[in-house]
């Protein structure tokens, strides 16, 4: 409660600094929402009944696409806007116009975007209808197990290191204590990056003992809250992820391309890994080896060009001899040209294929 109040004060101070008088009036808006909703939104009502399952399901889909990134799958990721807290559905029922206004125009100062242009009006109401179902105990026909019916517990090592995999295990039990088998559990990390956010880590399916295990390699560090969520129930655990001592991301220089043969590597062995702080290594060259290496394509292109020269000069060589040309060998020039083309062309192609740094010498 103290934390929440402090956040509110901080938000107020920040908003006041940023927006001056406008920020102050917005504070008043936050306090007395229903009276301050601006004209286009003031007094609007949800066209759908709050317990309409069709609207709720449509809203759930929109929510999963547009809202889970910040608010979390259960709507409880942001304490300042916790849709799963008891009584939230009553606030929705009493002041729908206020919430519709927030969804439509956003809260730029707090990082809430405006959805007026990206979501249609019915879609926005559908989302609110879905939000209603998150806290309402009386959501009829809910496909989701009611909180309390399902129990989830997340376990994870207390310490981890960025770049090193850790195993997260979530135990899922039904009301009767029986394991829930084959259920998909979502794992996410709660991080603060300009705003509170949730980074999806992955999904795992529970086995026959009701345990969903996820191996995850964090690329961030710090004291991170990791969460496992199944439908509306969630369990969190705090993991202290230490900074990596060495660059862990992409520690290998170059790109591993699929190849038919052994890779050709030219350069010092030290060039295979990145230097300290991820700096690029010394000059090296990596090529996919085997029959489809680009070197062979280049060699084939060069061979094709010189074969064309050969063909053209051969045409000249085959120009028939005029009858009164007996005294001179008119084929001398094209014959010499053909010889030059064969020698230079063969040299260039062989140079490519057998040079001291070519595949032949390095691929084996």
């Amino acid at each position: 409660m103290i934390g929440m109040r402090r956040r509110l004060v901080m938000a107020a101070v920040a908003s006041a600094a940023l927006l001056g008088v406008a920020g102050l009036s917005w504070l008043a808006t936050a306090a007395h929402a229903q009276s301050q909703v601006p004209p286009p939104y003031a007094g609007v009502k949800n066209p759908f009944p709050w317990d309409n399952p069709a609207a709720r399901d449509a809203g759930k889909r929109v929510y999963q696409q547009s809202c889970t990134g910040c608010h979390g799958a259960a709507g409880s990721a942001l304490p300042a806007a916790d849709f799963s807290q008891a009584g939230f559905h009553q606030r929705l029922e009493t002041e729908p116009d206020y919430f519709f206004w927030v969804v439509s125009e956003g809260r730029p100062a707090q990082g809430m975007p405006a959805f007026r242009s990206s979501l249609s009006e019915p879609q926005r109401w559908q989302v609110l209808t879905y939000l209603w179902s998150l806290s309402s105990p009386a959501a009829p026909g809910a496909e989701t197990p009611h909180p309390g019916d399902v129990f989830i517990a997340l376990t994870a090592p207390q310490e981890g290191t960025a770049g090193q995999p850790i195993v997260l295990k979530a135990v899922l039990r039904g009301k009767d204590g029986q394991p829930i088998v084959g259920a998909a559990v979502d794992f996410a990390a709660r991080l603060y990056f300009f705003t509170d956010g949730s980074i999806p880590m992955g999904e795992a399916v529970t086995d026959e003992t009701g345990v969903a295990a996820l191996t995850y390699t964090p690329r961030f560090s710090g004291d991170v809250l990791m969460a496992a969520r199944y439908e509306t129930v969630e369990s969190t655990v705090r993991v202290n992820v230490a900074e990596a001592e060495q660059p862990f991301y992409h520690p290998e220089a170059g790109i591993q391309l699929p190849a038919l043969g052994k890779e050709v590597f030219i350069g010092p062995e030290s060039a295979r890994t990145l230097g300290p702080l991820g700096f690029a290594p010394g000059v090296s060259f990596r090529l996919p080896g085997g029959a489809l290496s680009w070197l062979l394509i280049v060699a084939a292109a060069v061979a094709l060009v010189w074969a064309t020269y050969f063909r053209v000069l051969y045409q000249v060589l085959r120009i028939p001899i005029g009858s009164q040309m007996g005294d001179t060998d008119t084929r001398l020039v094209p014959a010499i040209a053909l010889a030059v083309v064969i020698i230079v062309g063969a040299f260039l192609v062989l140079k490519l294929l057998t040079g001291s740094y070519s595949h032949f010498n390095l691929g084996h």
Binding site: V312, I319, P320, L332
Partner: protein, 470 residues
């Protein structure tokens, strides 16, 4: 009637072969001047060999100077040649025939001079052999060797093939006083050409194959030249657009070179009848297309760099736009882009002087542009040191002058050895003209209407006779 026909074709031969037969004092003087400049360049090169590269303006930061600028420039105008001529041939542009020979000559000469430049750039030119012995295919320098060798060979073949019928003509027209060597060389080079249908078929097939083959090779050459720069992590060079940027730049300066060479030879050797205003105007339009493409790529290149503006890019753009290299950069923009565009677009005044001014400006500006590509990038420090400086020494300027003199000299000598316009192709072209637009045809070829009429009649008679035989 028959006499007149003879006179038309004789006139073509006389005009085209005239430069080969007569050599005036002016020509000898010109060659002497060129030889003097070339000799001065050779002296500068000897100086450089003797004292090493310290006699140039190149130092540890700015490691490339005028030599590499010349290299890119000459390889660039070599595109004139073959690429433009091959494209015109493949697209069967009817006006191409008097243009192609000169374009192909530019290619062969420019690429020969250009390929020398990196060797002059070496401190130990004798070690150029090492790239053959130790060359590694992961080095763009070896790619350069590959494609430039292929391009030089290809353009030599492509120059030689359409020459065969003309060499045969010269062989047959040699006077009694011609030396034995000259007679023998022409006979050998003419490969027994008698202009029979079968010979013609083979030759045209060979030319057709070469015209298609030479286009991708020409594109590859300048792409690979650009890779020498763009495969490094230098500001201004580290760019994915460099391949096509260099190719378009090469075509741009190449077309400008053709215009200059064509108009010069037209004037000197009185080829007005065959190289008409129409040819210059058409090439001017090609020049404009290349200019607009190059402008687009230039704007795109500097805009994407300047928008992100990393520290090194900022240094580079400051050097270019307001700093030490700004005069060069803006000279390129104004003399290479703005003025030539206006000269082509605003159709006021005589065509030929307008196009020549545009072409000269473009070639000067494109040389400067290559300077602006090579030098400022090297001046930007990538480590916390000071900016590099570069001031070409007299050795570099002399060798550059020698290179240009050599380029012109080879051209002047070639003009005395082979016809500057493809006689058989021009003659064929004139025969192919239909009788209907007689006046237009005369205007195009510069023939009098009676001559055109006579030509057409002969052509028709020959065609009828040919059909009878078949």
């Amino acid at each position: 009637m028959r006499a007149r026909t003879e006179s038309a074709s004789q006139r073509l031969e006389r005009v085209a072969l005239n430069p080969l037969a007569r050599t005036g004092t002016g020509y000898r003087l010109f060659v002497l001047v060129l030889l003097a400049v070339l000799g001065w360049g050779a002296y500068a090169f000897v100086t450089q060999l003797r004292w090493g590269l310290v006699s140039t303006g190149m130092r540890d930061q700015v490691i490339w100077g005028l030599y590499l600028v010349n290299f890119v420039f000459f390889i660039g105008i070599s595109h004139a040649g073959t690429l433009v001529s091959a494209i015109l041939r493949v697209t069967q542009a009817g006006w191409r025939t008097p243009v192609t020979r000169m374009a192909e000559m530019i290619t062969v000469v420019a690429i020969s001079v250009g390929a020398l430049m990196p060797i002059i750039d070496l401190g130990r030119p004798d070690r150029v052999w090492h790239i053959v012995v130790f060359g590694r295919f992961q080095s763009p320098l070896l790619w350069d060797i590959l494609s430039i060798t292929s391009y030089l060979t290809g353009s030599l073949i492509y120059l030689y093939l359409p020459l065969i019928p003309d060499i045969a003509l010269m062989r047959d027209r040699l006077g009694r006083d011609a030396s034995v060597i000259k007679r023998r060389v022409y006979t050998l080079l003419a490969v027994g050409w008698r202009n029979t249908p079968e010979q013609r078929h083979r030759l045209e097939k060979a030319i057709g194959i070469m015209a298609v083959t030479i286009i991708p090779i020409a594109v590859s050459v300048h792409t690979v030249v650009s890779y020498v720069f763009s495969m490094t992590l230098r500001p201004g060079w580290d760019s994915t657009v460099f391949g096509i940027y260099f190719v378009i730049g090469a075509i741009f300066s190449g077309i400008a070179s053709i215009i200059i060479v064509m108009v010069l030879f037209r004037k000197i050797f009185h080829l007005e009848a065959y190289i008409t205003e129409r040819h210059v105007r058409n090439l001017g339009y090609l020049l404009l297309v290349a200019l607009l493409l190059y402008l687009y790529l230039t704007v795109g290149e500097y805009l994407t760099t300047g928008y992100k503006l990393q520290v090194e890019d900022k240094h580079l753009l400051e050097l270019l736009l307001t700093g030490a290299n700004a005069p060069w950069f803006w000279l390129f923009v104004i003399a290479g882009m703005v003025i030539p565009a206006f000269l082509v677009i605003v159709r006021r005044g005589p065509v030929i002087p307008r196009m020549v001014v545009a072409a000269v400006l473009v070639n000067v500006a494109m040389w400067v542009k290559r300077f602006v590509i090579v030098i400022p990038s090297l001046q930007v420090p990538l480590m916390p040191f000071d900016f590099g400086t570069y001031r070409p020494s007299w050795v570099e300027w002399s060798i550059t002058a020698g290179a240009f003199a050599g380029f012109i000299l080879i051209f002047a000598i070639l003009a005395k050895l082979i016809p500057l316009i493809s006689i058989w192709e021009v003659a064929e072209d004139e025969q192919r003209r239909e009788p209907a637009p007689l006046a237009e045809a005369g205007e195009r070829s510069g023939l009098r209407p009676e001559e055109v009429e006579a030509l057409v009649e002969t052509a028709l008679r020959e065609r009828r006779r040919g059909q009878g035989v078949r």
